[in-house]
Point group: C2
Chain length 326, copies 2
């Protein structure tokens, strides 16, 4: 069974990489940047290059779907780069291709705020795609950089699905019909995503879970079963949003970047500003087996479990990361 | 016969690319940056990406020696990126790998001045490799970025040959024993370069030629024949230094960058500050055939002509552009 996680932002370390191996994780979409400029993003890539050089027996940089297979064959984890905000392309569409050459494979058009490209899910007004947003989506389509709308507003997300000539992704979110968080997605969005051939990765970040950190594995898997009925079993995967070992200063950076002098608490609150504790059944990369078992328990057959745990992402990577056929 | 030019810095245009095709040029090492910062260099790469997108039937980006063969097979010219100064890596060794990933295949440790890495041929004092210079050469060796000492001082060049664990290049220069320009190289350097498996590309930039623009093809080819006796016929190629269609403001940028408020005339003078006219026998990319014929006229056999016109560079690319075997 191919095992792919559709989003993580851990405090990367040898420990985390060894846990990926212990958990049999073949590939991870790893966030490498939020509000960083292009140059700052390149510094983050340099840090990854050092990890790749230091731990060649554990990890390597993934660029194509075939690298998922190479990871399986060589007992390593392929790391695919992604950005959770378009700050890394600044105001320069030429950086889309440059960052793709450097290995970027996913880019969110927004984090929680308005960006140059579209509107985040925390804005009062949702513009849909801006002029630059439409141009950048076309360029992302051309080079093979996946549009990720995990943190975007409803109108912007529907506009991206409509405007993009290639399927897009929501790498880490759950249905709002199950848990009505701002970051979770309406059935309208999920239906449009599925009809366009896109992918949803189910998040285990507690703010996206009904019951938060206390959500049970059975509840999580029952939600997946209901979503499979809505979207089809071929359009769903896992996107844990695992932020393992991160200090709370990191979630403050995610939420505030350099855009405000006040403190935005995002999905948290002044009383609980930090990272919430993960559910006991998913603490780190060694625990994907529990999810696979939970999916079987709610009635998915072996083939369907394999699709959800990685097969669907593998097929999506195959269709998405190369140049658009002209 | 494989035809490779070891250095050009033309004012790139469809006209120049069509002349490459008309001249049967399979590959060109193209300078993409001099004194530009990393971010400015990336802007230059973006400009190249636009040309690759606009003229896919004429050119494409070369990354490996196999791309030279692909160019021949598909009737196009492979463009390999190079930098004539290490400004593009700023003070950050991590940018060596990042720029290699973006396609950089040659980098001069200096232009004419002292750099963070070594000394240029116009400095009064030659430090040899600096502390950072030694570290960067090791990193260039690791990732497969060729050390180019075309504009460096004698001591720095000998130190680079000695310190580098992979053969280096002097992509565009001639023997000083033939024409004693500051930019031309001593027999000591040329002998050390050849003994270490490095490559010399013969320059047709008039300031590097005995007699300047009036130098004849026969004189140029006789100089090559004498250098082949010194270095061996396997260690030499062409590096025209063709700066076709460039306005004189560009040679002023090459020489002055942002390092002085005065005007440095480099190999020119206040009376002749601009680009000198190229010899009548080599005006543009359509004229490599004349050089091949000239080499035959001074006694090189067919196989040797093929080596000098591109075969030697092809073999050097093969040995140089990949990761160092560990």
């Amino acid at each position: 069974m191919t095992l792919i996680d559709g989003l993580q932002y851990a405090n990367w370390s040898e420990k985390v990489f060894r846990q990926m191996r212990a958990g049999g994780v073949d590939a991870v979409h790893a966030t490498i940047t939020y509000h960083e400029t292009f140059r700052e993003t390149v510094l983050n890539i340099e840090a990854w290059n050092r990890w790749f050089e230091q731990f060649p027996d554990l990890i390597f940089q993934g660029r194509t779907a075939a690298d998922v297979d190479l990871a399986r064959e060589t007992g390593r984890t392929a790391i695919f780069f992604g950005s959770q905000n378009p700050s890394c392309i600044e105001d320069d569409i030429g950086l889309v291709e440059v960052l793709h050459t450097l290995g970027l494979r996913f880019m969110q058009l927004t984090y929680n705020n308005q960006s140059l490209l579209a509107s985040g899910c925390y804005e009062a007004e949702d513009t849909g795609l801006t002029r630059m947003g439409k141009a950048v989506v076309a360029e992302m389509n051309r080079v093979g950089l996946v549009v990720d709308m995990s943190h975007s507003g409803e109108r912007s997300t529907l506009a991206a699905i409509d405007h993009s000539t290639r399927p897009i992704a929501i790498t880490h979110a759950n249905p709002a019909s199950w848990h009505p968080a701002l970051r979770n997605k309406s059935d309208t969005v999920l239906r449009a995503l599925a009809e366009s051939g896109g992918m949803l990765g189910f998040s285990i970040y507690p703010h996206h879970l009904k019951g938060g950190s206390a959500c049970t594995l059975a509840e999580f898997c029952q939600m997946i079963a209901r979503t499979a009925e809505l979207m089809g079993v071929g359009r769903i995967g896992i996107g844990t949003d695992l932020c393992q070992d991160q200090p709370d200063s990191v979630v403050a950076w995610m939420r505030n970047g350099r855009w405000t002098k006040d403190t935005d608490f995002g999905e948290g609150s002044a009383a609980a500003p930090g990272f919430p504790p993960m559910p006991d059944w998913f603490q780190d990369n060694r625990h994907f087996g529990a999810i696979a078992a939970g999916l079987a328990d709610v009635g998915f057959d072996t083939g369907e479990v394999a699709q959800i745990m990685g097969g669907n992402w593998r097929a999506f990577f195959e269709a998405s990361f190369g140049r658009k056929a002209t």
